[in-house]
């Protein structure tokens, strides 16, 4: 049964542990001095430790110490800094209490806070001192404190069982468990008793007798054993933890966990404590639930508080708690156990019910409902049982009432019983009292079996009373008209009580179904929060529809143009969708179809999925029966549901957007880093090549003519290679849209000038002329890129024309733009290729000896177009090629003319 598996350190657990340790590292450390009872010397031990640490230079402060006037202890505090106590006035008296704020403000490294289980005076920040300590720890202050074994929550009832004394001040076990260090302060019982005799143990005067009872040797031995064992358990846990961390051996773990069901009875605490112990022993998770049945809804507030307290206590002890509601406690419990994979169910033992031996106990019922669950019954103390967790009688009666004839039979039986009981009493009591008996019967029947049987009981009761007891006896004749009134009252009581019961039952049913609905909505929204694609949403939606309404459903999403896409089926059988109505509902953001004012004849209801930003689509729903959607409650539920769906759809829409954005960013980043890596890696060796080839020509003694030529060729080729690399990278950048134009208002003249200088070596054998129109306006261009355009055009010209050809650069201003051209008198462009040459890797003549890969013109076009201009090539009428591009003029900034006051001065 136990699912055994190898427990290597689970990465999640390790992570959690690391987190826990991180948390712990920031938190202060808690050191507990733990003892079996008062008087063993915990406070003394604590103070001794404090003195020692202080001697080591630790910043120690005494927060609160209960010396109870003992001299030895008092002496220990000497030389230690003692935090003044806070005075709190309570009911006219001034009480002294530990000053939490003072301690937090003082913020020592270590603080001594005695008596961890102490309850604070009303008016303090926390009701318990251990809560003060928690706050100190959270503030990063180390704390030393003392605690007795009976103060541990889970041991509390064991101790009170042993000693007969209830201890009210307790601390949750988790405080003890999470303490970083526990020091057991041990004293053999005999020595303790000796100390007690010597008056070294403080005893409050009032409770002296009780305390004397407490300090019996038997008690002390038991308490000491408890304390020792508890400390040993802790050490064991530490050991196990150590083993798990170090993975010394594989650790085996049963995957059992415990479900504790509590009812309204006082025994709840007891069950929870037992469960806590068991869960601790098994080291398994445990859940505590309270199931509110219709009967329990009517509990008085005091009992309700008690239950909530028990749940709170369970939570403090580390349980997961839940408050559920259901008609049948057993079924609800079993469902919960199955949902949460809990294999052990614990509940209080039902009180024996002598009068109904056939009734099944809670445990038996669970056994029948879920044979796979282990059931543990916890013993109850006397007096607990009546109010224990049991199936409510009322509920059972309500169930039975539905069985019809049963109620009437019981009514008859009740009347017979009443008649029989009345028989011997008749002689003793007056008739008016006998009538009360019958009245009681009617009330009883009405409560248990409802209106019908109550009416029957009224009739039968009156008949029996009349027949058997009203004189004349054994006849239905009514001597006195007053018995008619008796009959009327009995009937009225029966009817009213029956009515009330029925109403109660109805309310309970409504409450349960409402709760189920809320739960379903809650579960759906939880599921929706995890959905990442529309299909998942459709599936969740289908599940909800099936559980809450039945029928067929689909989700129709819209595309970016506000048109509906094909529907996604939510249920196994999707409804037949009229796209016209769906689109209408979407466009008008109004419901249409079944149950609405628009096209109510359709069997399908179309609800627009309105999300905060926009309508995301349409939800189409075809109920099983067409009238089902008329009730406002159902419509409301459906609308809430549609709203949840649309929010989920909107969320995944934005998830998609952010993801695609992230992908774009990432690919861009990758491209950039690739480009810069390539450019660096290619350029560095080229730079070295150029430089080395060049420095060869400078060496002394000088190179021979042939060597000189080799060196210079090397240099030229390396430079060309570098130009090629530049072009490739430029193209890659331009294509990626990565190039951001650094546009400034520039003079074309300057760009031409720097371009001519850049390609001056290539141009040395050509006749270059520049013919720029006078007073060209400033152009808003990226000078570096524009220089590339000119360089490429000029190099192109040198490549395709023979040496000594003429190359001319010109520019003229037109209406909205500046026209720039570069022309030569070479062979011109191949006919019909004027456009193609601007394509990438396209060259004027295929397979010729002219170097290049055909990127230059493509780059020119990309740059010019990025500036908002255009470029084309043509053949000149006089022969040769002409490349023309335009650049928009834009609105150049005004230049303030200089007032030349110095006219003539600088002559």
């Amino acid at each position: 049964m136990a699912d055994i598996k190898d427990q290597r350190p689970n990465p999640d657990e390790l992570l959690e542990k690391v987190q826990r340790e991180n948390e712990k590292a920031q938190r202060g450390k808690l050191k507990l001095f733990f003892g079996a009872s008062a008087g063993v010397g915990k406070t003394y031990g604590m103070l001794a430790a404090a003195r020692q640490l202080r001697a080591q230079g630790v910043d120690v402060v005494v927060g609160v110490v209960e010396t109870h006037g003992r001299k030895e202890t008092q002496a220990m505090t000497e030389g230690l800094e003692i935090l003044p106590l806070k005075k709190i006035s309570y009911r006219g008296r001034i009480l002294k209490e530990f000053d939490l704020d003072g301690a937090l403000a003082r913020k020592p490294e270590l603080i001594m806070v005695d008596e961890l289980a102490h309850s604070n005076v009303a008016g303090s920040r926390h009701p318990k001192r251990w809560q003060d300590v928690e706050e100190l720890l959270a503030a990063g202050i180390d704390v030393c404190s003392t605690v007795n074994v009976q103060h541990l929550e889970t041991l509390n009832d064991v101790v009170s069982g042993i000693t007969g004394i209830n201890v009210w001040e307790t601390i949750p076990d988790r405080i003890f468990e999470s303490a970083d260090e526990v020091v057991l302060v041990d004293l053999p019982p005999d020595e303790l008793l000796q100390r007690l005799k010597e008056g070294k143990v403080y005893l409050p005067q009032q409770a002296e007798r009780a305390i004397q009872n407490f300090f019996r040797k038997g008690n002390l031995i038991a308490l000491r054993e408890l304390a020792l064992r508890r400390t040993a358990d802790r050490v064991d846990v530490e050991m196990q933890q150590y083993r798990r961390e170090k993975a010394v051996t594989s650790v085996w773990k049963a995957r059992e966990s415990i479900l504790v069901c509590i009812g309204s009875g006082v025994g709840g605490d007891r069950i929870v404590r037992s469960a806590a112990r068991l869960a601790g022993l098994l080291a398994v998770p445990w859940h505590v639930i309270y199931i509110e049945t219709p009967e329990l809804q009517g509990l008085p507030d005091t009992k309700r508080d008690k239950i909530l307290k028990t749940l709170k206590m369970a939570q403090d002890m580390g349980a997961e708690t839940a408050s559920l509601s259901g008609n049948d406690a057993c079924e609800t419990a079993v469902d919960y156990a199955r949902q949460h994979n809990l294999s052990i169910v614990m509940a209080g033992r039902d009180h024996p019910r002598p009068w109904s031996p056939l009734r099944r106990s809670f445990a038996d019922k669970i056994g029948v409902l879920a044979p796979e669950l282990d059931v543990i019954q916890v013993s109850r103390e006397e007096g607990d049982a009546r109010e224990s967790f049991a199936i409510s009688p009322l509920q059972q009666q309500i169930d039975r009432m539905e069985k019809g004839w049963h109620g009437y039979a019981m009514a008859t039986l009740a009347c017979i019983v009443a008649t029989l009981i009345a028989a011997p009493l008749h002689t003793v009591f007056e008739l008016s009292n006998i009538v009360m008996l019958f009245l009681l019967t009617v009330v009883f029947v009405a409560i248990r079996y409802g209106r019908g049987p109550a009416m029957l009981a009224s009739f039968l009761g009156v008949a029996a009373f009349d027949f058997f007891y009203v004189p004349p006896r054994f006849s239905f004749a009514i001597g006195d008209m007053q018995y008619l009134l008796t009959f009327m009252i009995m009937l009225a009581v029966g009817l009213i009580t029956g009515q009330l019961t029925a109403g109660l039952k109805h309310q309970a049913r409504i409450a349960t179904s409402r709760e189920a609905r809320v739960r379903a909505l809650y579960e759906m929204s939880r599921d929706l929060s995890g959905a990442l694609i529309p299909e998942q949403i459709a599936e969740i939606c289908g599940r909800f529809i099936e559980s809450q309404f039945g029928g067929k459903a689909s989700i129709i999403l819209s595309n970016l143009e506000d048109k509906l896409k094909p529907p996604i089926a939510a249920t196994a059988k999707p409804p037949i969708i009229d796209h016209g109505i769906a689109q209408w509902a979407f466009d008008h953001e109004e419901a249409a179809g079944n149950g609405t004012d628009t096209l109510p004849g359709s069997s399908v209801l179309y609800l627009p999925l309105k999300a905060p930003m926009r309508v995301r689509g349409v939800f189409a729903f075809e109920p099983v029966n067409p009238g089902q959607l008329m009730t406002p409650e159902q419509r409301r539920l459906l609308e809430t549901f549609a709203r949840l769906i649309s929010i989920a759809l909107e969320r995944i829409h934005y998830v998609d957007i952010s993801q695609s954005f992230a992908v774009t960013m990432e690919s861009e980043r990758l491209r950039n880093s690739l480009l810069s890596a390539i450019s660096h890696d290619l350029r560095t060796p080229l730079s070295v090549l150029v430089g080395l080839a060049d420095s060869m020509t400078l060496t002394k003694p000088p190179l021979t003519g042939q060597q000189m030529e080799i060196a210079s060729t090397m240099r030229t080729e390396a430079m060309r290679m570098s130009a090629l690399v530049n072009n490739l990278l430029d193209m890659a950048r331009l294509q990626a849209g990565e190039v951001k134009l650094n546009r400034q208002w520039c003079l074309l003249e300057e760009v031409v000038e720097s371009s001519l200088r850049a390609v001056s070596t290539s141009l040395s054998h050509y006749k270059v002329s520049v013919r720029l129109e006078e007073n060209l306006p400033l152009l808003e261009i990226d000078a570096v890129l524009m220089e590339r355009v000119f360089c490429n055009l000029l190099e192109n010209a040198t490549k395709y024309t023979p040496e000594n050809s003429k190359i001319e650069i010109g520019a003229s201003s037109a209406d909205q733009e500046v026209i720039v051209w570069v022309e030569d008198n070479g062979p011109g462009l191949p006919k019909g290729k004027e456009e193609e040459i601007f394509k990438k890797f396209e060259r004027g003549q295929k397979e010729n000896a002219t170097p290049g890969v055909g990127l230059g013109l493509a780059i020119c076009r990309a740059i010019v177009e990025a500036h908002g201009g255009s470029i084309h090539a043509e053949n000149r009428s006089t022969g040769g090629a002409k490349f023309v591009f335009t650049l928009p003029k834009g609105n150049p900034p005004a230049i303030e003319p200089e007032f030349d006051s110095s006219e003539g001065e600088c002559v």
Binding site: S679, H680, R683, T684, P685, L686, S687, V688, L689, V690, G691, L692, D694, S695, T697, L698, T699, K700, R715, A718, M719, S722, N726, L729, N742, Q744, W745, C746, L747, E749, E750, V751, V752, E753, S754, L756, R757, V770, L772, L778, D782, A783, V784, E787, I809, P892, P893, I895, E898, D900, S901, S902, E903, G904, E905, C906, V907
Partner: protein, 232 residues
């Protein structure tokens, strides 16, 4: 090691060993003493201890921003700094120049180019310290600062005050690349730092008056997107 005091000392801060190697080769042929530094850190130490006459600094060093190096160096030294950088990194060049670098070379560059620049800056340095600068001549231009006279081929040239200030600033920084920002600050004052088009327009006017061929000027050349250089 004996140090020949007549030989200029040059520090090369560059992480690529091969580039260091050819720079050293080229400069040693040209009678310089070269010290290499692989990192900015090392470069600062070398600059502080070797009494260099010039620093050659690669801007793309892995251990930091070359511009910081320039600022650090400029705190205590006015020696010429030539930065090496790749093409398409105009903003880096401008930052380096604004921080105090004097010139730049774009990779790949030839050894002859490098040597020419180094020589020019070394010469400028010795000129600055020795000569009376009140009269300057370049090409067919004659400038007498004391008399505020500019002549071209013996003929007096009329310059507006801004043009004159511009010329003065350029001439007093020969062979250096001056950024638009530096020129604006020196000629127009700190309030016009962003109006780079003013520099372009007035530079155009000045060139027309000084240069024979404005599309292929000899003395005032344009460094695209960076600034201008005056070469006597």
């Amino acid at each position: 090691m004996t140090i020949d005091s007549t030989k200029p000392v040059i520090i090369v801060v560059e992480d690529e060993a091969q580039i260091r190697r050819f720079v050293r080769l080229a400069l040693e042929v040209d009678n310089c003493i070269v010290h290499e530094a692989e990192t900015l850190q090392r470069g600062l130490i070398e600059a502080g201890t070797r009494h260099p006459d010039l620093v050659i600094l690669d801007l793309g060093l892995p251990d930091g921003d070359g511009v910081d190096f320039i600022r650090d160096l400029r705190v205590w030294s006015q020696i010429p700094i030539i930065v090496l950088s790749a093409r398409t990194e105009e903003t880096d060049k401008v930052r380096a120049l604004d921080a105090g670098a004097d010139d730049y070379l774009t990779k790949p560059f030839g050894a002859s180019e490098l040597v020419a620049r180094v020589r020019a800056h070394l010469r400028r340095r010795s000129l600055n310290s020795n000569e009376d600068n009140s009269v300057i001549e370049f090409g067919n231009i004659h400038i007498d600062f004391r008399k505020r006279i500019v002549e071209r081929a013996g003929e007096a040239l009329h310059l507006t005050p801004i043009e004159y200030r511009l010329l003065t600033y350029l001439v007093s920084n020969p062979d250096c690349v001056l950024t638009h920002r530096q020129i604006l600050k020196a000629v127009w004052g700190p309030s016009h730092i962003e109006d780079a088009h003013y520099v372009r327009i007035y530079m155009g006017h000045l060139r027309k008056k000084l240069e024979e061929n404005t599309s292929q000027p000899r003395h005032i050349t344009t460094e695209s997107s960076v600034g201008y250089r005056f070469m006597p």
